[in-house]
Amino acid sequence: MNIDANYVAYAFLNTAFIILISPLFMGVAKIVKAQAQGRIGPPLLQPYYNLLKLAQKERVYSNKSSAITKITPYINITIMIVASLGIPLAFAPENSGGLGNIILLLYLLAMGRFFMAAAGLDAGSTFGGMGSSREMSISSIIEPITIIVFAALAFTLNTMDMHQMFQTAAQEMSFLNPALILVSIPLFIVLIVETARVPVDNPETHLELTMIHETMLLEYAGRDLALMELSHAIKQTMLMAILINILVPWGYAREFTAPAVIIGMLLFLAKGIILATFIGLTESSMAKMRLFALPNLFIIAFFLSMLTILLEVFR
């Protein structure tokens, strides 16, 4: 593996871009939800204010917790940033740097989850335990669907590397490829599940019925909480990017020049806002599902992803 100047430039740009825009998508989804409920909602930039506010506050640790609680926020943000190198948002350099592998990406995310769930158990609170138990269970049973979706993508686009996938999708512009349309539905469900949104979880609260993701963060305060929330936002943007850049790759920068990159970024931002709006609308139009009714949702996603494989194989 050779890291050239292009790759370094890409690494900095991509990382800065994803960190900058991730909270925005969170904010958009929030506003849409508020509007759908007849409220005005927070200002668009509220997530940024929140992060800044949290960053300036002191950190509080439980007297029961151990080093796991302290290192988890750093580990989490590290993993998200390294994983995001594998997902070029608006442009992909010639050499993918070996980080674009989808299995690697999946397992990096799994590592983040491992530490988060462990931190949930660390303080000895029932909330955290319940959150990590449910998070691990749900993320486990969504895993077969994720892997089949990725296998379908790999079959269709003929590579396991995210960079090459995006490039192929941008070249072919095959938006009427039934396999890709089909696979986008389970991919969207995976996105909803992984980012802990309605109908799986509710990002607004940590009441009993939705005690999944938020409860694991209950013991965090100040800068640590800011890091955790930022990494969650980055994770959401990464998954959104997979959906966007494979389904609607219009305007994806095909060469590494300043105008192409800027157009690519702006277009990605626009597409991301539309997708975030759609996520907000989906959330508003659904009720939270019971935890044990979730397999029904997942099984539909499984069917769809399996159907994509059938289409690919029978072709």
Partner: protein
Amino acid sequence: MITAALAESLTQALVVLVLISGAFIVTRKDLLSLVSTYQMQSLLLAGVALSLYSVDQSPTLLYLAGLTLVSKVLLIPYIIKRIQRKINISRDMEFHYVSPIASIFITIILILLVYGAFSNILKELALSNLFYLGAVFGISLTLMGMLITFSRKKVITKIIGYLTMENGVLLFSLFITELPFIIEVLILVDLFMIVLLATILSIGMDSSVEAYQERFHQLHIEDLQEKLHLHRKHRGES
């Protein structure tokens, strides 16, 4: 003007969507959404016929699309929705033999089975890939319809199952068989359906098959048998 390649991929997408609607019907419990899904499925089928027409230019396809639109998108759902409003049931929570999750797995296996079986049967016909897919999915949809009819308890869901079966036959016929013949089959199946609907309507369809059988009991068919039985027993003892 639609190019042939575009029409082909459009048809493929529509066929896949038809199958997905089938899978939806297999798992949904909510009766209202079942009917709307059925409606959507019929609309998609009409779409398939139209997009095939854009390649084939055969007028039968156009008639077929019109027929489907009128009968299955408008008429039948309208009737079922009216009945639904009358009987006031909104969900079918009961499943026979298989749960929704199991039936999805069964569906996947069904598709594979049909594919495997057809790869032997249809080899001589030398079909293009799209037609092959349509045929396989058509038969799969028919089997899924059957699955619905035997796995649900509420009569109204069973009807949806029958209707799905019939849609499967239509899908198959669009891609494989001679059309005039299949129209006859369609009418036959539709007739069967109407008879069934009529029977159920006359007896009442507010609940499950068990209740339906009870209605029969109320016609004293079984009472009579019992009386006869008692009578014989009595004579035997004396």
